[in-house]
Symmetry: C2
DNA sequence: GTCTATATAGGGATAGAC
DNA sequence: GTCTATCCCTATATAGAC
């Protein structure tokens, strides 16, 4: 909480923050293209003119939100145990759980900024910075997934060739990137307006299911136990 | 070729067809939302007014194109060999090739109407018929993939539990549905405007890779042989 | 910093002449 | 059937008062 006595700078910042927060909510609910600056202003009980005092244009709002998203989601997974797997569990149950954890972290970020995924094509076509940065994120994610898989292979928790791992990583990215869209598409129309209770568990389950068949022995069984909750 | 002597009915139909064809091209190239009726008319060297003589509104064009897409893509896969697998190859190599074939067929349809996939969210949110019908297609595809997998299990070409098959089918649908989007997203900006040479082989390869790890013995080897071309 | 009023532009769609 | 002209609405963005 900032003190109120600080003058106008803080008020300005607070208003900017309110605009960003409301924009994010509306964008996620109805899609960026279907939200006008007027709607944002109205939702905040402020005039459209005032909104434009704080942001040059709508795209600046999008860019700002994307920057936050990027900051939040562009983190590397926990450094893998490497060769240091405990002797009593050389197949690394920790590695599997790290994967679940990392996956959930990513999915939460994607859920909170899901408007970006709703119209990826148009957003990236309109805005070259966004296209560039988004692809950079994907590049890093691909590398991260491949590295995690290679680690699993190293500790014999997974059996897969390098080619299989690359293909697998791509599919992991695709499913992770678009699952929430698919989920929304599948939902009955009534629920779509409401917008929410996105089921991240289901998303994580679907992604892990891509990896599962390559897991070996105890690691596979460990995964099956963890994912049992999500089988319909 | 229709005879010219037939009067105006044919001319009308031909113009409608030209409008649809041009709309499809432009929609695929730039996205439905980014194509105005004016652009369509101009591309055809006709006036906007004339376009509206043939179609009540833009959405009618979209609906008509969707109907064609639906007709083309909503076909069932070849009836599986069932118990009638040849004695010398009980693992059914035919079944694997049928799968490839069916997959290519579907992907071609999706490529030719890819504008539908570009903004699935908005299109289905705007148009409830589209939402309904699209989901009906997905339902059938899910059932078809599950049936194909169950057949493979029956002839021992695949090892998978019913739960695994359901999860697998969902992932197959997601990857098939969104792979072309992913591909476009990954392409450098220069190529995106041009719009094309969509690599369906890569798409098919990625989808088949989902199924591969569940294939058993000779069927797995058969798949590996077929997909070898696509390994980077 | 916030408001009201308005400029500006684009796109969907219609009217009416030919 | 096709064209020209235009209406109408919506959305972004700005000007200027308070």
């Amino acid at each position: 909480m900032a003190a109120k006595a600080d003058g106008n700078t803080i008020r300005t910042e607070r208003t900017r923050a309110r605009i960003l927060a409301e924009s994010l909510t509306l964008f996620n609910e109805r899609g960026e293209a279907n939200v006008t600056t007027g709607m944002i202003a109205e939702a905040l009980g402020m005039s459209p003119g005032n909104l434009y005092y704080h942001f040059r244009n709508k795209d600046e709002i999008v860019e700002r939100l994307f920057a936050r998203f990027e900051e939040r989601v562009d983190v590397q997974p926990a450094a893998p145990a490497g060769g240091a797997a405990p002797r009593d569990a050389p197949w690394g149950p920790g590695a599997i759980e790290d994967l679940w954890l990392y996956l959930h972290l990513m999915l939460e970020g994607m859920r909170d900024y899901r408007f970006l995924y709703r119209n990826l094509d148009d957003l990236t076509a309109r805005n070259s910075r966004l296209h560039l940065h988004f692809n950079r994120i994907v590049d890093r994610k691909l590398a991260a997934v491949e590295a995690l898989c290679e680690d699993l292979v190293r500790v014999r928790a997974m059996r897969a060739t390098p080619a299989e791992i690359r293909t697998l990583a791509r599919n992991v990215l695709v499913v992770a990137t678009y699952w929430l869209n698919f989920q929304a598409l599948r939902a009955p129309r009534a629920k779509r307006a409401v917008g929410d209770e996105v089921d991240l568990g289901e998303a994580a389950y679907q992604v892990m299911a891509l990896i599962a068949p390559y897991l070996a022995g105890a690691a596979r069984r460990h995964h099956d136990r963890l994912s049992r909750h999500y089988i319909d």
